[in-house]
């Protein structure tokens, strides 16, 4: 009882300019949607994958991030002696007390300055973050005034090439290597030996202590025990949870802003799609009247035009995804205001995001097409016949 699909397909193709323009218009909206979601996704991925659920990060009670936290040497020692702490291959406890500061560094291409995180780690620090790999140069020699730079920021800032020197409070640190860390936020940091960095930067206080749990399921018990200890005055979080929280605000802001723009664009696209469909239907009133004459019902007419609108929108969705794909993997960076430091991340498009884009396009097709399709189905037969 339905009007043949080939009729719809060929009618759409038969009006190439209008179809193309509308599809491109819808495509742009879909592309922006996909990219906005990919941006938030990439950002979140960078931060979320930063921590491991088997690691615990200890900070001062009340601090909202490592930056405003402080843990004393005594506190670090107490933690090191805990039975719950896992031991490394060499038998030493896997504990890394760390200092964290920000330095203001010049971006490349004269695009101003931004804050970059410097983290002082113990030997165990590298083992604790098991996705860290040196990809250029070498690791730091213990006790040396050397630093390694995360790959993501190595190319974005001045003075981070191998052999360059970073000056911190009258001491020069040589850049001896670049590292990756599975795409996580650590790739936007500068790492150095704690023993050398601490006296230069912060004196006697660490910002945090990170350790690996022997039995990750005991986290709740460990947390309760340590947080109640009056000598320490600390709060505990799973490392993965800590970084997920940091990502939260900015990722949400990105998604909200992206969605806002997309919705406005979608409204414009819907008007445009409606316009195209009205025009298309207007020029085909004789065809519609003929169909009605032959005995096709208004329902079939409405469905047919709705299908056409959806076809155009689908084409637009595909165009949009194709437009967005080349941007996948492009790195960008911004300041994460939760940590006040620069975080570099990349657009990350997933099949799910592409799927959302297509579904969104189809939605646009339905919303834009429904009114014109309904109007087409209400076309009074006799009136059209008389015009013939």
């Amino acid at each position: 009882m339905a009007i043949p699909f080939s009729y719809n397909v060929r009618s759409v193709i038969g009006r190439p300019w209008a179809t193309l323009a509308t599809a491109v218009g819808i495509g742009m909206v879909v592309a922006i949607l996909v990219l906005a979601l990919a941006l938030a996704n990439g950002f979140q991925a960078a931060l979320v994958e930063t921590g491991s659920p088997s690691n615990v990060i200890v900070m001062r009670k009340g601090a909202d991030s490592e930056l405003s936290s402080g843990v004393s040497r005594e506190g670090a020692n107490i933690i090191r002696a805990l039975p719950d702490v896992a031991a490394g291959a060499d038998g030493r406890p896997l504990v890394s007390p760390e200092v964290l500061v920000l330095i203001n560094q010049e971006r490349q291409n004269g695009r101003g300055t931004s804050n970059v995180t410097i983290r002082g780690v113990d030997r165990e620090g590298l083992t604790l973050r098991d996705r860290v790999r040196i990809v250029a140069g070498r690791d730091i020699s213990p006790g040396a005034a050397e630093v390694i730079i995360g790959k993501r920021i190595a190319d974005r800032f001045e003075g981070f090439r191998l052999g360059d020197r970073v000056r911190l409070n009258q001491r020069d640190f040589t850049v001896v290597g670049h590292f990756t860390a599975g795409g996580s936020g650590f790739e936007s940091e500068v790492w150095g030996d704690n023993a050398v960095l601490m006296p230069v930067l912060r004196g006697d206080v660490f910002q945090s202590v990170t350790f690996r749990m022997k039995d990750p399921t005991r986290f709740a018990a460990i947390k309760q025990q340590l947080e109640a200890d009056p000598r320490l005055g600390v709060q505990l979080k799973r490392e993965s949870e800590y970084y997920a929280d940091l990502a939260g605000t900015l990722a949400t802001t990105m998604r909200v802003a992206g969605l806002f723009i997309v919705i406005i664009m979608a409204v414009g696209a819907i008007f445009a799609a409606m316009n195209t469909m009205f025009a298309s239907i207007g020029s085909r009133s004789r065809e519609i009247a003929t169909m009605l004459t032959l005995g096709f019902g208004p329902g079939a007419i409405m469905l047919a035009f709705l299908v056409e609108s959806i076809l155009i929108a689908f084409a637009g969705g595909v165009i949009g995804c194709l437009l967005a794909l080349p941007i996948n993997g492009t790195a960008t960076s911004t300041t994460n205001f939760s940590t006040f430091s620069e975080i570099a991340f990349a657009f990350q498009i997933t099949p799910m995001i592409l799927g959302i884009g297509i579904v969104f396009a189809l939605g646009l097709g339905v919303v834009g097409g429904i009114l014109p399709a309904w109007k087409a189905s209400r076309q009074p037969l006799a009136a059209a016949m008389r015009a013939m």
Partner: protein, 396 residues
């Protein structure tokens, strides 16, 4: 003038199409100007800071403090006048931790005189008659000056948090742990664009005493006795501390604030690109629609020509039609964007006030006019060059 009424009749003939096309243009331009407004605000904020005041911070980054011992040394540098300092407190509101606002511990007796030109105290708790205030401090801050735990808040902040003058507020310290209490003794209103209305200021001494005298200075701020000497004075100060444990970096307040904007990275650029993509795509559809609409009317143009209308007037008519649609949508969209962004609560994090320059609105309207011309030009030219005979043949 009959021509214009013809244009109007034609536009009204297919109301749906005219309205939809105008709406498309409206939305496109609205978004275009909105996004441009974001970029405008960001660039604007790099230009509004004072160039007569300088800021000295730790050379490594803002995260590192400066010692009190720098105070007298900086004061002694020639060219420095009216020196003060402040410290970023951090902290969270215990009731709404997500509702963030800036809090500074300042040396009140020197801070408020230095910034008197930037803010005006519009409300203050009363103090006993004749209570003295330090020179340069607004007289109505007498109560504030004499209370250790008092604070001054921006009127925007007061409204946003639902506070009242005289109320005691609490803050959970993050950098300086503990529960801190403040009493609101003054409300300020910014007098310049560089200042916002959502900051809280309190006494440096309160912070100093409650941190076992360990709190250090965040930044030093001062005015220049000779405004043309900014670079020279800055260099003098930085050279002074170059080899100390706390090297400094001195720059104008404008440069300092611009530094924050540069933290956004190339986001402004991305926004611009999106704005252009948006405008382009929707215009494309509007343009094609208009072109198709006009092409359908070829027979009518032939008839008009038979009646004696000149080629030129047909050209004008078609162009007028296309332009009417795009200009209506364009002007409305641009103006709405300006109005919405500036008057409503929408905003970027950290920017309580947004701007859309008039130049942007004009740009938007210009783009709309251009689009009208572009989509009307080809059909207009075709309409005017039409040979009556050819066109009429299509009618039958």
């Amino acid at each position: 003038m009959e021509l214009l009424s013809l244009v109007w009749t034609n536009l009204m003939r297919n109301k749906v199409r005219t309205v939809l096309t105008t709406l498309s243009v409206f939305v496109a331009l609205f978004l275009f100007c909105l996004l441009h407004g974001v970029t405008d605000t960001l660039t604007e904020s790099t230009k509004v800071g004072s160039e007569r005041r300088l800021v000295t911070r730790n050379k490594l980054s803002l995260v590192f403090p400066l010692p009190m011992s720098h105070l007298e040394k900086i004061r002694a540098v020639p060219g420095v006048s009216a020196l003060t300092w402040s410290n970023w407190f951090g902290g969270e509101d215990p009731v709404n931790p997500r509702e963030f606002y800036a809090k500074f511990a300042v040396d009140s007796k020197t801070y408020f005189p230095l910034y008197a030109s930037d803010m005006e105290i519009v409300a203050a708790s009363p103090a006993p008659e004749g209570t003295p205030v330090p020179p340069g401090v607004p007289a109505n801050l007498a109560a504030y000056m004499n209370e250790r735990t008092a604070c001054v808040v921006g009127e925007g902040l007061l409204k946003k948090m639902g506070w009242k003058l005289g109320q005691t507020i609490r803050v959970n310290g993050t950098i300086y742990p503990g529960s801190w209490a403040y009493t609101i003794r003054g409300v300020y209103r910014p007098k310049v664009k560089a200042m916002d209305a959502e900051t809280m200021f309190f006494h440096w001494d309160y912070l100093y005493e409650n941190t076992n005298r360990n709190a250090m200075v965040g930044i030093y701020q001062f005015a220049l006795s000779d405004p043309t000497q900014a670079a020279a004075v800055g260099k003098r100060i930085d050279d002074l501390f170059e080899n100390s444990a706390y090297a400094t970096h001195t720059e104008t307040e404008r440069a300092f604030q611009a530094g924050f904007v540069s933290m956004f990275g190339n986001i402004p650029f991305v926004i611009m690109v999106i704005g252009l993509a948006v405008a382009f795509s929707i215009f494309l559809v509007a343009a094609v629609t208009m072109m198709m609409a006009i092409r359908e009317r070829t027979p009518e143009f032939a008839v008009l020509k038979t009646l004696g209308f000149a080629d030129g007037s047909l050209f004008f008519m078609v162009l007028a039609e296309a332009s009417a649609i795009t200009l209506t949508g364009g002007i409305a969209g641009s103006l709405l964007a300006k109005f919405l962004l500036e008057k409503s609560g929408l905003g970027l994090p950290g920017f309580s006030v947004m701007f859309v320059h008039w130049e942007t609105v004009l740009l938007g309207i210009g783009v709309a006019a251009l689009m009208g011309a572009f989509s009307g030009l080809l059909p207009a030219w075709q309409a005017s060059r039409l040979k009556i005979v050819d066109a009429l043949r299509k009618v039958g």
